[in-house]
Symmetry: C2
Subunit: 414 residues, 2 copies
C-alpha cells in the first residue's frame, strides 16, 4: 500500500475521533505542541541545517532560502503562534440555527469539522506548524505536503507535534506528513477524494494553479492578488497618497499589496507627480499608460500584460481613467477578486464602488493591506480565499468547519 | 469565437448588472417568465414533440422518455414553480454581520450573488426552468447545458424566458443555453474558470462523477445517496418498520431513499420477519448478509458490492450488526454522506449517532426521505450537496450566494 493511501485511511479514521473531542483536550494538545517545539529546538535546528545545506548545494538563495531557514527566534514565534491558536474560541459544536417544521421535525444546523484537510505548500517549515494547529483546533485531521527542500525540517517537526498531541489524548494519525515529495505523489494526493475532504494550497500562483487544474478534491483557492487603488476625482489627495504608498510599499511581496493605481483624469495632473515621486523615492518602478507618461515622463510604458500582473515587487502599474465606471470596469476585467480600494469623498461613488466591484474585500478610504485574518479580528488565518465557494477573503477557524443537519423526530414519515 | 467563450463573456458582463438589480425587478421578470411559459405552451409542446420523436428513433423509452416529455399539466406546474420562487425572500444584500476594529475600520459581511453559475444536467426540460429561475432570483447569471435529447425543448424554453426577462428589465445574457451539445463542449465548459464561478451538476452518479473529475471550476457535488436506516436494540419496532418502509418505497428513485437497513442483533429475530415481509409485499427485493438469510431465508445473498450501491430501485440491502458502534462504522465506511437515520429509544445512542455519523443530514426516529429543500422549509431546492464545502444538504436560494467584505475607512493604513 502506498504512503498516500495508508496515511489517507488513517487520517479518515482519526477524523471521526477528532470531530468529537472536547475543546479541553484539543487545547491541552496545542499547549503540549508549543512546549515540545521549544524543548526540541536543537533537534529541529539540526534537521533544518541539513535542509539548508542541500538547498545551498542546489543553488537556492535569497528569499527562498530565507523562508526555509529556522532559528531560535523563529521557533519561539512558531510556538507563540500555537498558543495564540489555543486561545481562540473553538468553532465546533455551535448550533447555528434550529427550527421546528409543521410536522414536528426539529431541524438544527450544527457546526462540525470539515474532516480531513490537505495542505499543499512550499518550503516553509513554519506553515507546517501553523496549518496543522489551525486544522487541529477546528477538529480536523491534516495531511501536509510541503516542499521537498524542507523535508527534514518537516519530518522532525511533525514527529514532535504528533508525540505531544498523542500524549495529550489526540488520536493517532491526526497530523500526517507525506514524506514522498515527488511531484506525481502530490498530483495523486489531489485526487484522493475518498480520504481528503478539502485541499488548501498555500504558496505562489504557480502552485495554486497546479492544484486547481489537477485536483478532483474540492479546493479552496487562495492568495493571488492583483489589487487596485482607485483615486477618485473628489478625494483627499494626501489620504490617497498615503494609501497607495502603504498599499504598494509596506510589504510588496504579499497578496494584499496594490499592483495597479487608477487615477481619475480630473485630478491626474495634480495627484500623479506628488504620489509617483514619493513612490519613486521608495524605489518603486512606475509603469504608466500614455497619459501617465505625459504627466510623469519618468514612467516606463505599461503594456497590456502589466494590467494583469501580480508583481509582488517594487513595481506599480498606473493608469488614468475617465470615470469611476471605467475604473470599476478595469478592476472587474483585470483584478483577481482579492482586495480593491477607492479613495473618495463622494458618497454615491463610495456606494457604487462597494456594490459593483467584484472582490473578496472592497475598501473605501483604506489600504488594501488590511485583508488579513488578524487585521479582520479573526485571531488567525489559514489563507485568503479568492474564490466564491465556501469562504471568501481571510479564512479563520470558522472557515475550517462545515455544518451538518441534525434532525429530531418522533416517527415522522413522508 | 466559439459559442462557449462568447456566451461566457456575455454572462460575466451580465453578472455585474444582475448582482445589483432590485428584488422588484427580479420578481417582475419571474412573473413575466411564468406567464410567458403558459402563453407559449403550443410552441414549447411543438419543440418538445420534435425531441420526443428523435428520442424514440434513438430507442429511448421508459423513465428517460417520461422525463423528457412535456404536456399542458407539466408546463403549468413549471410556471407554478416559477411563481413559488418569486414568492421567496431575496437573500441578496443582507449584511450578515458588521463590526468595528480598534483602528476604526468598519467591516461588514454582505451577501452577494455567486456570479455566473453553470448547470450541467440531463434531458429534463423542467430543470431548465427551475435552475434558471432559482439562479436568477438570487441575482446570478446562469449558463445551462442540458442533455442533447432535450435540445429543441430547451432552446425554445430559454428563448421564451429570455424574451420575458429582458422586457422586465433584466440584462441581456442573463439566461444562457449552450446549444452545442457535444460531450467535448461540456468538458470545455467545466474548465471555463474565467467566466463561470461555480458548476452544479444535476443528474445521475455518472454525470456528477464526470463533472467532478473534469472540472477546474469549483463544483458543488450533489445527489448521490447511499442512505441507511439503523434499527437499534431498544426501539419502537412499529416505528422502525414504518420508517424503513417509507424510506425505501415512498419514492425509490430519489437520492434520499434508503438503500441499506442495519439491524441490531438483539432485535433482529423479532424485527426482520415482519419488516421484510411487508417490504416484500411492496415488491422490494431483499439482499441480506448471512445472518439475515438465516432469519429470513427469502433474502438473496448480499455481496460486498451491495453495501456501496445506490440502487434507486425496489432493492434493499440488509445487515445484522452487533452494536451501534458497528452500525456507525458501517455507515461511515460505505455511506455517501447524504442522509442517515437511527430508530431508537435510547438517549445516549441518539446522541452518539447524531455526533458520530458523518453525513449532510442525520435523523433520529424519522425517515431519510425528509432531506429536501421543501421539507426543510427552504421553499426551493437547486440540489442536495453531499460535499462539505460551501453547502451541505438541501441547497436553497441562500446557498446560491456568497459573501463579500465591505470595509469603511477614513484613511487607515497599516
Amino acid at each position: 500500500m502506498n504512503e498516500l493511501i495508508e496515511k489517507g485511511k488513517k487520517a479518515r479514521q482519526a477524523s471521526y475521533l477528532m470531530a468529537n473531542l472536547s475543546t479541553t483536550v484539543k487545547d491541552k494538545a496545542l499547549q503540549a505542541i508549543a512546549e515540545a517545539l521549544i524543548s526540541n529546538e536543537k533537534k529541529i535546528l539540526e534537521a533544518n541545517r541539513i535542509d539548508l545545506e542541500c538547498a545551498k548545494k542546489k543553488g537556492i538563495s535569497g528569499a527562498l532560502l530565507d523562508r526555509l531557514t529556522l532559528n531560535t527566534n523563529r521557533i519561539a514565534s512558531m510556538a507563540e503562534g500555537v498558543l495564540q491558536i489555543k486561545g481562540l474560541p473553538d468553532p465546533v459544536g455551535e448550533v447555528v440555527s434550529m427550527w421546528t417544521r409543521p410536522n414536528g421535525l426539529t431541524i438544527g444546523q450544527k457546526r462540525v469539522p470539515l474532516g480531513v484537510i490537505g495542505i499543499i505548500y512550499e518550503a516553509r517549515p513554519n506553515v507546517t506548524v501553523d496549518a496543522a494547529c489551525l486544522c487541529l483546533k477546528a477538529g480536523n485531521v491534516v495531511i501536509l505536503r510541503g516542499g521537498s527542500e524542507a523535508i527534514n525540517s518537516n519530518t522532525t517537526i511533525v514527529e514532535i507535534m504528533n508525540t505531544a498531541a498523542l500524549e495529550a489524548g489526540l488520536p493517532e494519525g491526526c497530523i500526517n506528513l507525506i514524506e514522498d515529495t515527488r511531484r506525481e505523489t502530490a498530483v495523486e494526493m489531489m485526487k484522493l477524494n475518498k480520504y481528503i475532504d478539502v485541499l488548501i494550497p498555500r504558496g505562489g500562483a504557480g502552485l495554486i494553479q497546479t492544484v486547481v487544474n489537477n485536483s478532483t478534491v474540492p479546493v479552496i483557492e487562495t492568495g493571488v492578488g492583483n489589487c487596485h487603488v482607485y483615486v477618485d476625482s473628489d478625494c483627499d489627495l494626501q489620504m490617497a497618497e498615503d494609501i497607495i504608498v502603504n498599499a504598494k510599499t509596506s510589504r510588496p511581496g504579499v497578496c494584499n499589496a496594490a499592483e495597479t493605481l487608477l487615477v481619475n483624469r480630473e485630478i491626474a495632473e495634480e495627484f500623479l507627480p506628488r504620489a509617483l515621486n514619493r513612490l519613486k523615492q521608495l524605489n518603486v518602478e512606475i509603469r504608466g499608460c500614455e497619459e501617465v507618461r505625459k504627466i510623469y515622463p519618468d514612467a516606463l510604458p505599461a503594456t497590456e500584460e502589466d494590467w494583469s500582473t501580480e508583481y509582488l515587487d517594487y513595481i506599480l502599474a498606473v493608469k488614468v481613467v475617465d470615470s469611476i465606471d471605467e475604473a470599476i470596469e478595469h478592476i472587474n476585467e483585470y483584478g483577481t477578486r482579492h482586495s480593491e480600494a477607492i479613495v473618495t469623498n463622494n458618497y454615491a461613488h463610495s456606494q457604487q464602488f462597494l456594490k459593483q466591484v467584484d472582490a473578496a474585500a472592497v475598501y473605501v478610504n483604506a489600504s488594501t493591506r488590511f485583508t488579513d485574518g488578524f487585521e479582520f479580528g479573526f485571531g488567525a488565518e489559514i489563507g485568503i480565499s479568492t474564490q466564491k465557494l465556501h469562504a471568501r477573503g481571510p479564512m479563520g477557524l470558522k472557515e475550517l468547519t462545515t455544518i451538518k443537519y441534525i434532525v429530531y423526530g418522533n416517527g415522522q414519515i413522508r
